[in-house]
Symmetry: C2
Subunit: 321 residues, 2 copies
């Protein structure tokens, strides 16, 4: 696991007395919260970080594998957009946003973003973040999820310091760059474009639909979980054949975790797959971004202009305030 190196995010020691605490709203846009204690632990912990936490009344709703039926989750989204809290943090991902994309009032969501709300999450939340970009609602944040990241017990490894520090800084509007150590071979690369991306499976499931933004000259970051490298390759080839990859200035891979090797692989690994794609594609394919289904994850503003610069193996993504 690569860890961010520069600039090192810093947690504010205590919430400043001069500033009122940020209002943070927890909600459940997708999968059911199967373990409510994790959400309570997350709420408590976020409180100790200085946020004024409220939990959406439907955050623990249950309908099959979803946190409430589609109408309920859509209503929560619009209700929260209208309330415009400072931070809107999803409890968890799973699957569910694709079902409601067609029903979202993007202008209403856009007003909350323009008003200063920071919507945060990853995994299934990619559908919302890319939809927001496609429908010009404004940038959201790829970042942690309440249960997965702030609801961890000590036995589950506890809360990751870098994840927490990045999140606090980003939510206070103070995170302007992240750094990490990537693979060698890209020294001197410097590109500027729209930073976008998220979960590869979710992004691919938007291909051909009106909810995938048409980003040209961008910096595309990708992560996934439980997908064998051949499936990751298939998705990346689809993005290549659809003209998406070559339209970017750089592609940055986060973590691709929890896949099971097959006895058929015979030397076909994540590493050889990426090497094969590099020989096939013209766009630089970087890796090592601390983002994905792993403990350490940075926050990234989806849809903001950013610069990616590489010096030796040090990679820096800067978007400014």
């Amino acid at each position: 696991m690569k860890r961010p190196t520069a600039p090192k995010p810093a947690v504010p020691e205590t919430p400043s007395a001069a500033e009122p605490p940020l209002r943070l709203q927890l909600w459940s846009p997708a999968g059911v919260v199967a373990r409510p204690p994790a959400l309570r632990r997350a709420a408590r912990h976020l409180g100790t970080l200085g946020f004024e936490v409220t939990v959406d009344p439907d955050a623990l709703a249950r309908h099959q594998r979803f946190a409430g039926d589609d109408a309920q989750r859509l209503a929560a989204l619009h209700r929260i957009a209208d309330a415009a809290p400072d931070v809107v943090l999803a409890s968890r991902g799973g699957y569910g946003l694709m079902r409601v994309l067609d029903g979202i009032d993007w202008a209403r969501l856009g007003r909350s973003i323009a008003g200063g709300s920071r919507w945060v999450g990853y995994s299934d939340l990619t559908a919302l973040q890319l939809g927001a970009l496609a429908h010009r609602a404004g940038p959201m944040w790829a970042g942690p999820l309440a249960c997965d990241d702030f609801g961890r017990t000590a036995e589950e490894g506890g809360i990751d310091e870098i994840t927490e520090a990045c999140f606090v800084e980003a939510m206070h509007g103070e995170l302007e760059a992240i750094g990490f150590r990537g693979e060698a071979g890209f020294d001197g690369l410097e590109v500027r474009g729209t930073l976008w991306g998220g979960n590869l499976s979710v992004l691919c499931s938007l291909l051909g639909t009106p909810h995938l933004p048409k980003v040209r000259g961008g910096i595309l970051f990708l992560e996934d979980v439980n997908e064998h490298p051949y499936r990751i390759e298939r998705m990346l080839l689809q993005l290549a054949q659809a003209g998406v990859l070559e339209a970017q200035k750089a592609v940055v891979l986060g973590s691709f975790s929890d896949w099971k090797p097959s006895p058929l692989d015979r030397g076909y690994t994540l590493k050889t797959m990426v090497a094969g794609l590099r020989s096939r594609l013209k766009v630089p394919l970087l890796s090592g971004l601390p983002f994905g289904h792993q403990r350490t994850k940075v926050c990234l503003p989806v849809g903001r202009r950013a610069t990616l610069a590489v010096e030796g193996r040090d990679h820096l993504i800067v978007w400014g305030h």
Copy 2:
């Protein structure tokens, strides 16, 4: 498992003395043949059915998880297209065709089809069949695979009679319809259009690329394996949001097999998922097609004009000769 009912395909008792035997070429366009004896058993069995079987020299090639590297598999495809045997049957699927689609000489492939070659397979072969349709190379056959269907030992359940009978009849140009018992609720439905489809994951991996045919007013058949219903739903929603589903006159589901329920499902099943989609979509969503990753599979000409007619629960797909 639904079984075809009418018309019941019949295996020719013995190859006619008047007709020379059909030349059948086995090849490996995608995944490595991990168990060569299965291919030898298939070749032997196909011989007893009256085919004159040859095995491509690279059918047992190995490169990582593939049956030879991309150049090797692409060369085999073009070599076989030029040789124009009567039947071109793939050893197995797996993953691999997406890697070579950009390199296929579709006109060359089209000449073999126009010359009478019947290319057959399912699963990963969907990429080739849909590519052939998109690039106007002509219709191929969705049908069995050599190892999976004709290479089965008695311990593996042996060879399915219906699969075999349909295949023999189709390869002799004598299969003009298949029948099966579907769900109630579609009595009286009759639609006509291009028959197309195959593996849902593979079809979705072509969305946005030049290799997905733009079929309007068609009859779309779909199957998949190892995909949880939420992933099948996500793919179907993508096809809906991309305008593909509603452009069809009917969607016919084959088998969706080998997925593992999750404790999170709480009543979300393949059946409730399909019911939910039916309430959302205007296009008729039929099921029960004996096709997919199951023993019994019919042969279907991908890209031929066909009529789908339902009487009670009896479903008939007719394409004529």
